[in-house]
Each structure stands twice: as C-alpha cells, then as structure tokens.
Subunit: 413 residues, 2 copies
Amino acid sequence: MNCEIISVGTEILMGDTVNTNATYISNRLKNLGFFVYYHTVVGDNPGRLKNTIQTAYDRSQMIIFTGGLGPTQDDLTKECVCDFLKLDMVLHKESVDAIKNFFKDREIFRSEENLKQAYFPENAIILKNEDGTAPGCIIESEGRIFILLPGPPKEMSHMFEKEVIPYLSKFIDGTLYSRTLRFFGIGESELVGRIKELIVNQTDPTIAPYAKDYEVTLRVTSGGKDKEKCESLVLGTEKKILEIVGEYYYGDGDTSLEMELHKLLKKYDLTVSAAESCSGGLLSSKIISIPGSSNFFLDGIVSYSNLSKISFLKVEKETLEKYGAVSAETAFQMAKNIRKISNTDIGISITGIAGPAGDNRNDNVGQVFIGIDYMRKMYCYEKNLIGDRIRIMNKAAMWAMFHAIKLINKENE
Amino acid sequence: MNCEIISVGTEILMGDTVNTNATYISNRLKNLGFFVYYHTVVGDNPGRLKNTIQTAYDRSQMIIFTGGLGPTQDDLTKECVCDFLKLDMVLHKESVDAIKNFFKDREIFRSEENLKQAYFPENAIILKNEDGTAPGCIIESEGRIFILLPGPPKEMSHMFEKEVIPYLSKFIDGTLYSRTLRFFGIGESELVGRIKELIVNQTDPTIAPYAKDYEVTLRVTSGGKDKEKCESLVLGTEKKILEIVGEYYYGDGDTSLEMELHKLLKKYDLTVSAAESCSGGLLSSKIISIPGSSNFFLDGIVSYSNLSKISFLKVEKETLEKYGAVSAETAFQMAKNIRKISNTDIGISITGIAGPAGDNRNDNVGQVFIGIDYMRKMYCYEKNLIGDRIRIMNKAAMWAMFHAIKLINKENE
C-alpha cells in the first residue's frame, strides 16, 4: 500500500521543531511492510493544507496526518480533511467525556475550544488519546484511508502503537515478528560496520539500525505466513548479532537503561545510592523516574563543590589535593562513602568535566570517572565523552547505569 | 519570496534519518525574512522526484533541495532538475580540481563516479563544498531559483552559511522583527483563550502560539520596510499580552527557566542549593546543565527516604510524623536546612508524590510542595500536578525554578 505522511504545523516550517513524527511513523510502517513515498510539511493554513490533501489524494492510498488537532482556531487538519471529503462532523459523546475527564482537577476547561476536539465525521474510527485532549481518527473514504494523529510526539507515538497498528494489521498478510535490541556505548556506524556481513547477506529477517538519545537499536524483523518460522529466524539472527556486539547490548523491547537497572535491583533485592558531581543529579533523577524506585533508591548527593565532597561525602582533603576532584581516587571515595552513609548495597559515583570550559586545572572536557562500590568491591571506569555539556551529563549518567547493569549481571551469574 | 524545501533521500522515508536539514534551512530563512510554505521529502526515484519538482515549480519562487548530489547512481537531484528545466550539463573545471584535491591522501578516487559531481548546467552558480566532494549549485531559470545542496548536515549547513546566504542577501527587502515570549504554568488553550481578542483582531503583528516541553511560547512577528515601525508594533503587542498574562511570563527569545534563573543569580550575585524528594535530582541537574553553574550552585541532596530527610537534612522527626513528608512544613524545613548546611543565599526544596501509586498514606498523586528560603524569608507553594511520573517530576522542578525567578525579581525590584 502506498502511503504518505503530512505533518501540519507552522512551527516545523519555521524551523522551531524537527519533524520527528514523520521519522517515527516511517520507521514503523517500513517494518510492517508498508511503503512511504512522500513526507510533506504544511503550515496551519487552510488553502495550502487543502492543496496538499489534493496532491496526496491523487497519488497515495493511505495518508497519515500529524498535528493540527489541537483546541485552537489554527488547528485545522480535521476540518480541512472533512471539508475536502465533504463530510459533516458530529459531536462524539465518548470523546467529550474523555476530554472533560482529562480536565478534571486541572486548569479551567474551556468548552468552546476544547469541545472542538470532540467533533468527528459520523463513520470515523475514533482513536483514544491517553496522554492529551486531542483524539485522533481514521476515515475510510473514496478508496483511501485518512489517519489523523495529534502533533505532540508522545501522544502521537502512543496512539500509533495502541490504536493504529491494530487497525493496520488487517492489511498485513501473514504475521510479523520483530525484536528490538538495545545497545549503549557504541556508535551507529561502528555497530553497523561490525555486523555488516549479517546485514548485507540476508533479507529475511531484516536488520534495521536506528540511533536515538545516545543509544542504538537494531530492529530484527521477519514476516510471513508461518509464525514459528519467523520467530526462529529472528532469534537466530539475534544470537549471531550478540555474538559480535553483545558487550554493548543491555536489553530488548520497550525498555531503557533505568528500567533494566530497576529490574535487576528488584530481582536481586538490592538498594542503591548515588553521589554525583558533573552529572548534577541526573543519575538520581533517572533512577527515580521509574515507578517503585522508593524501594531501592535511598539517597543521592549532588556534591558539585570540593567543599561539599569533603563535608557531605567525607572525601579526604588529601585525595582531592593530590589527585584532583576528577580522578579515579575521588570517584572511589565518593562511591564508597555514599554507600556507607546511605547504608545501601551499591554506591555509584560520577565525577568529571562537563564543559564547555574546564572547571579545573585539568582542562580535559568530557573526562569522567564512574565509581561503583558493589557490596564492598570497588570498580572504576574512565570515559572520554564527546559533545556539549548536556550531552556529557546524560552520557555520564547512562554509562553509570550501563556499568551497574553489567556488574550486577556478572556478579549474579 | 515564497520558498519550499525538497529533501531527497530514501533513508528519510524509511525513518532511518531525521530531516534536520529542513529544520535548519527553515530556521535560517525565517530569520532572513523568507517564507517557507512547504517541506517535501521524496526518495531517490526519478519519476517521483520530477513530479515533486513540478508541484514545487507551480507554487514557489525559490526551491531548495538537499541530498541526491552524491557520486552514486541513485543520486539524481541535479540530473532531474536539469532534465525538468531542459538544461545541458558541462564539466566544471574548478570542481574537478576540488574533487581531485579532496581525494588526495584519501580513499581511491573513482573517476567515473566522482566526476559526475563536477557536471553542472552552463550558467549555474557553483557552491563550493569544503567538507565533502559534492559541490552545490544555484540555477536561475524561468523566474525561479533552484538551490541544490548536499545531504550531509555538516556539508549542507556550511555551504548554506558560506555560499547561499551571501547570494540571498540581494533579495532581502525590508525587515522582519520577531519576539518569542515564554510562559510557564498555563496551558496553551487557556493562554490563547485569554488573549483571544488580540489574536483575532489584528494581522500585524501576528501572534503564533506554540506549546512544547511543558511551556507555551507566543511568537509576535511584524514585517515590512520600516524597521522601527515593525519593532514598535511588536513591542506594543507584547505589552498588551503581558498586561493580561504577565504572571506566567518568564523570558523571551532563545532561553529556558534554567537560563533565566542563571542570569538572575549572576546579576544579583546569589548562590543556591537544592533539597529534592520526588523530583529526584532533576532540579539540581537542570540548574547544573547551564555552563558556569559552579559559580552559584553549591549543593544538592536527593533525600528520597524519610530517614535521609532526617539524617542529611535535619528535618525534625516530629514534623515528618505530624504533617508527613509531603507537606508545607517539611518543605519549609528542607529549604531552610539545605540553605544553612550549604551556606547559600537561597535554598529550594521539592517534596511531593510523583506517582503513579501514592508512596504515602496521603495517596494524592501530583501533590507537590515547593519551599524557598530566600535570604531567610520563607515561601511555600503547593501544586497539584497532572501527568505521569516523569511529567510530574519535570513540572515540579520547573515550577521551583519559575517561583525562584519570580521571587528574585520581586525582591530586587
């Protein structure tokens, strides 16, 4: 089926927002066996939007829209599509309730603006939005499929996974088995280079690499009528991939470093605490972002100054003077002492230079030491991270979790 | 001048690459006063590429292409544009030399493939590529301007800055004045509702609302030949907007809550420390993410358990027992004690329930108390935040910064 994606939003044309929605949908459709031939971005302008719909109508069987479903006057996607197809809209009772429910205990519900979001053509399939007020919809008309999704990436992707994919399954012939393998600490081109033989020499399963938020994923997919054969092909390829680059692998599916760490802490009944310098609390906040973390995360200290490293973390003054705040020795003491002070099984420390200018006589931006005290055994990892300040802070916190995951796995083998 | 951007590359349609080139060019053109009305992405397919050129030709005066200038058979942009315009190509001597020079000391020069990159229509303006082998070009034909740029973002952006902007300067007629006002603590529909009169009743300046990352921006823009008039129109409208919703305003332009807080701490020579419970270090990490924060951020404590609130932060046991960890009283003590312990001018605390299930007998997910000890004057703010755990953590940290900004401004009026 020929598909195209139309993203509606002046903010994209102004260069204020990157069109990651089109990337996401394209990637998912590709893996489901659909062909995407065009992306278009058009502003919140009814004339240009209608021309864009006409162009898409003339060449594609499925047209997926993102954006323009909001409550304001300049949110026009649904209105323009219905106008183009000459469809009347009616108030959809369930959506009214869902929107009102969303506004419960919130900012004031503005009936005029928000109820606009509950109008749909009579035969449309309504797509629930659990993350916002704008429901989406699917309109089947004149031999074509129009799928309207909200613009905020999180709302869009959740709706796509929960509502659109089940709808699309009727167009997929046979079954599709897919696994998403997650890697950290290796770049996309390096990873792809190492498994090039596998990628080049086989077409089933396909291996699709994708880099995002400092990690790389490989989606291994096989489709066909025989479900068991698909599964076994995917798992066989997965095994071959992990034989080559398994040292960078940390989990599969809809997971993250913090979720994997959480799973292990729970599994082995371990508690953790963190002492952070250059990452500024980011490691603690990532660990705490997982529900239930109060059971295993006990304390965090952001000791940004040398003074607080001494007063809160009892790092020895001599160590700081002799080796500096950014050193393996300081990282060791920070990890050991936060574990002792908090009385946890694991203590993790991060000290480094996040840049842009060195905060230290050692002007080595990106140098980071990660200390882990795991049941009184000490580990230290030195990194030389590249990027701006926020990137270095993020990577440092992610490396700390990655090493903790590998360590807990190893110690409990 | 009406512009559009055509990005050529199957990898974008496959979802393997995000189209950041279009974002970059759009942003630059906006600031130069050009209007971008469409982005299109099309694959490396001559038929579809030519149809896309035809559509763009019919509606735009300037068409900017990225991608498809490489040495391989499926790099077709230049060929398709010339075919569409019925222009012959000739070998461009300087480009041959540049390409050969590029290959000096590098991978093997492949004459057949690489020389393809040195062919251009006779009257084209050649754009040098200092970062790769593909020169770009500008073709003025049939009253339209075709600008062809390479796909790799670094090559594209360098060429755009060094070669395209000087070319475009001759078309810049008049001026464009724009201000971006940033608001926190109010939803997009609520904000737009409140200033609806202003939005509906005027066309110059325009007011464009946009919601992203828990905040709302309004871009107020005026264009014309008279620079002073544009500025005064924009500033007049800005004044009217702030009279209505100024309580939610925190800054303008390319800024953020953490950057505004940074500016004020620097301006008034203040230091800050943070004691966080439910936000888990996110406030500290946001403050520290700004370069130079070591001058004003001293310490952070993530006291997730009651025990650490007592041991690290010296919160009184009686207070925790009587009022609970999530209370104004606990927030007060946390803010006061972190300020005292760290010896800073300001102490900020956050305690609350990030959910999804209450961690506490008070099962009120989203209830957050923010305490601020500003030069020994105590302030406390109660919030009822909505959303998932990560959303509540983020909003809590942002509210804390927002209140600190408002407070510092007020105290130093």
